[in-house]
Amino acid sequence: MELIKSFTRVHSRLKQRIMKVNFVLSAALLVLGLIGLSSCEDEVSNVPTAEAVKDITGSWKVVQLTRNGEDLSERLDLSGFRIGFNSDGTYTLANQLPFIADAPGTYKLSDPQYPFALVLTPEGVEEDVVARFQFPMVKGKRQLSLSFSLGCESNTYQFNFERENQN
């Protein structure tokens, strides 16, 4: 009987000690967590937030074409059209569709980081041609979206491109 009582006392003390240890451990972890969090804040605030320069080099194929919001992609053969942007500032066309330019030439973005327009200068043409530029991620893939008019200004076309061999 005494043995049982003695065992119970020991067990009770042991339990109290474990609880104390748990409390101290929890408090220590909390303090460490807060320190970590505050150090994370410092790290986050130190990460440079400059917008990346938009790189459009590569060969792009048309995946969607709309006219005044109407999707023509299934009704027109888009397979043959390609536009290639080279790192030396020139572009080339494989042309089976109407486009704002019908000859190769040079290109530039309206702004390297925050472009809203793509400016093309086709060979043999004095005036630049300008397309509204967007560079969204769609279903995990980068798209190049160009909007412009081909004939009447009231008719707006949007060409959505994907980079060839894009993973």
């Binding site: 569709l97 109407p98 081909l150 009231s154 008719n155």
Partner: protein
């Protein structure tokens, strides 16, 4: 712990039920419109929208919003420049301002005008050469429970220089509700009866009645992508029993001289069936015809034919071809 979870679940369901009942009993009344039967070209006409608000709000809550109103009119009316919208109501009268193109409708991520076009379409019209333009009151108005009112929105607009038959579109809404697809309480849409514009030169542009042949876009140049449609269900023709319909077409310059002719029954000229005995062909005129650089196509003349090219249908089922002139105005 289990009891607390159940209690929270019941509270959540009750709140949901209350919110649902509240929304069902709140909103705008049905929209009706007063539109004259006809007008002369370039006449300034007034259209009136009639609607009302029926706020059912738990006291002492209030509902503060701006009035939205939209119109769907032919692009040729140039309504963005010349339309003026005003409203009258027991809570005050005011002028409405067109929402800038740069302002995005939050639900669709598009401009308000494009969002309205996507949501409401062109109603009972059959040919799309329309724009939706959305306006907003310059002031906000606060409603209390059961403060039911009726209001009118007046639209003054020039009707353009073309003869036409058209059904116009109208919309009223609440600015804080945006254009949620599922919402039926805070956005009300109506299309007018047929409105006729007469007294101008040229053919009547018929947006309303089914036509044997149509061209989209209504206004285009030879560098646009053009869609020709043949609707065999409109009337009986010699092509009634044909499964394949082909295009026989010629193009002319501004002097009326023939530039090129394509009269072959191949994949190049075969129209695509889109069901309902309708067929269409999308083509880029400058790529379709043999056109020199710098040369401009001014107009088209065309027939629809069978696979042999012997049976053909022209304008009004006559030997006259369908005609289309490239223009932007």
């Amino acid at each position: 712990m289990k009891k607390a979870t159940h209690t929270l679940l019941y509270i959540y369901l009750l709140v949901g039920l209350f919110v649902t009942m509240f929304l069902v009993h709140c909103g705008l009344t049905a929209l009706t419109v007063t539109v004259p039967e006809q007008a002369m070209v370039n006449e300034r006409v007034t259209f009136v929208m009639h609607s009302g608000a029926e706020p059912r709000i738990e006291e002492p809550g209030t509902y503060t919003t701006q009035l939205l109103a939209g119109i769907m009119v032919p692009k040729s009316w140039n309504a963005r420049q010349n339309a003026v919208l005003t409203f009258t109501s027991p809570k005050g009268n005011g002028v409405m301002r067109m929402i800038p193109d740069s302002e995005i409708e939050p639900v669709s991520g598009l401009s308000w005008h494009q969002a309205a076009k996507n949501m409401f379409g062109i109603g009972p019209n059959l040919v799309d050469d329309f724009e939706w333009i959305v306006y907003r009151s310059t002031q906000s108005y606060t409603f209390r429970n059961n403060e039911d009112i009726s209001f009118d929105v007046n639209v003054e607009c020039n009707v353009g220089a073309e003869n036409m038959l058209v059904r116009l579109g109208f919309y009223v809404g609440s600015s804080i509700e945006n254009l949620r697809p599922e919402d039926t309480d805070y956005k009300k849409v109506a299309f007018s009866q047929v409105f006729e514009v007469t007294g101008g030169e040229g053919d009547v542009i018929d947006f309303v009645n089914p036509q044997l042949a149509t061209v989209q876009p209504v206004r285009s140049l030879d560098n646009d992508i053009v869609t020709l449609t043949f609707d065999a269900g409109v009337t009986h023709t010699v092509l009634d029993n044909q499964e394949d319909i082909y295009l026989a077409i010629r193009c002319f310059d501004e002097e009326g001289l023939l530039i090129d002719e394509v009269n072959e029954q191949t994949d190049k000229t075969r129209l695509r069936s889109i069901g309902g005995r309708k067929f269409l062909l999308d083509f880029w005129p400058r790529g379709f015809f043999n056109v020199e650089r710098g040369q401009r196509i001014a107009r088209l003349e065309y027939f629809y034919t069978d696979a042999s090219g012997t049976l053909r249908v022209g304008y009004g089922k006559t030997e006259e071809p369908f005609r289309y002139t490239f223009r932007c105005q």
